[in-house]
Symmetry: C2
């Protein structure tokens, strides 16, 4: 087989094509939950692609929980019926890269929840971690330095204290993209940062006092500017 280096976009397109072929195969053969897929070798042969490409595609579907591969045994359809499997793969193929607005919108939604949960559930240790993140942030701002990273770490500390591992994971996945875009669009410039200290402190105090309602209110205040800012950005 001929070696060929593909640009990342085409590589993604290839992987999507393979995923789509796997879906077609599952449909054609009417595979049920727990059924075994053909081996990676056979798939790569019948799809006329390399085995590593097939492996990548399988890994992606495994990430979404649709397949499950067992060492020295085979790759199996997850405990999901063919209807859901089919619909979900179709959805995955259509997924587009998240835009900035959708990221911010989601972040606000998640954080209004985490801050309430953190106020309800935080342990003493988690509270201390939040406090430390707050101090690190304040120190930077007082020195006139850029503190976008410390800002985000404060919010991540709250997410960790929410006791909801799913939301925590989601927050982690969107944070880098947010940081990048913040720098790009010059959100959160230094003039805003000074106000940010007090806002952060208010949030911290509400969590400390285990007042979920107040915590949410303070977080809303904190997001108000961000909200306005982001909805004014050109696409």
């Amino acid at each position: 087989m001929k070696t060929e280096i593909l640009p990342k976009n085409e590589n993604d397109a290839l992987q999507k094509e393979i995923i789509s072929k796997i879906r077609d195969y599952i449909n054609y053969k009417n595979l049920e939950p727990g059924d075994k897929l053909p081996s990676e070798r056979k798939l790569s042969e019948s799809f006329e692609v390399s085995r590593s490409n097939v492996r990548e595609a399988i890994q992606t579907l495994e990430y979404y929980g649709l397949l499950k591969s067992k060492p020295q045994s085979g790759t199996f359809v997850a405990d999901i019926g063919s209807v859901a499997l089919n619909g979900m793969i179709t959805d995955i193929l259509r997924l587009e890269k998240p835009d900035f607005k959708s990221l911010v919108e989601t972040r606000i939604l998640l954080e209004l929840k985490t801050v309430r949960l953190a106020a309800l559930r935080r342990t003493k240790e988690e509270l201390k971690e939040i406090e430390e993140a707050l101090e690190a942030y304040s120190k930077k701002v007082m020195n006139g330095e850029d503190a976008v990273q410390e800002d985000l770490l404060f919010h991540l500390a709250i997410a960790k204290a929410s006791g909801n591992s799913t939301i925590n994971t989601f927050m982690l996945t969107i944070t880098p993209e947010i940081i990048t875009n913040f720098a790009k669009y010059h959100v959160c410039d230094k003039n805003i940062a000074f106000i940010g200290i007090q806002e952060h402190r208010d949030i911290y105090e509400a969590i400390k006092n285990q007042d979920p309602q107040l915590a949410k209110e303070k977080m809303k205040v904190h997001f108000k500017m961000l909200y306005q800012y982001c909805y004014n950005i050109k696409d």
Copy 2:
């Protein structure tokens, strides 16, 4: 080097160890955004693990947006400062597998948002897709068949119509796990399903009439049982 097959858990542990070593290296060398990591070969040699293990670890960090590898060039630190990078890798290493309650809690949060957004933003095409999902669900229930899959696809259709690609992705990632656990805990048994038809129809109508507040209310009603059910499950 000796070939050794590892159980999945140990493999995960190994990957975490490698990730942690990458973090340490970045700290030790004070790598800034855009700086280049040593080549995969050098890393695998200095960590005394195979190159494919290193590649896996890098891919994971790439998924979280912390690294960026360019073909025939190198692997680079993303446009994130070392503080955030360090904090986030530490968080990632601590991540635990999501529990069922956290999944349901998150799903409810996300869906109360998607249903409102869908009522505001849905196109005619998206509305039609929701309707088709609703019909497929109703038909199954009327025939006395299990309709968990069609149920979830209805909700995914709403997520798609929300116009928020981030939330849409999140919904896709948690759905398989939810389906599996539903089957495991016998949530949504047939006796509930008949009520479900009307509840789904109410939600659909609210979205059709572009009434976000009503849509949210109806979704809340729909989740009421689920909510109670899930918080009574033993851990």
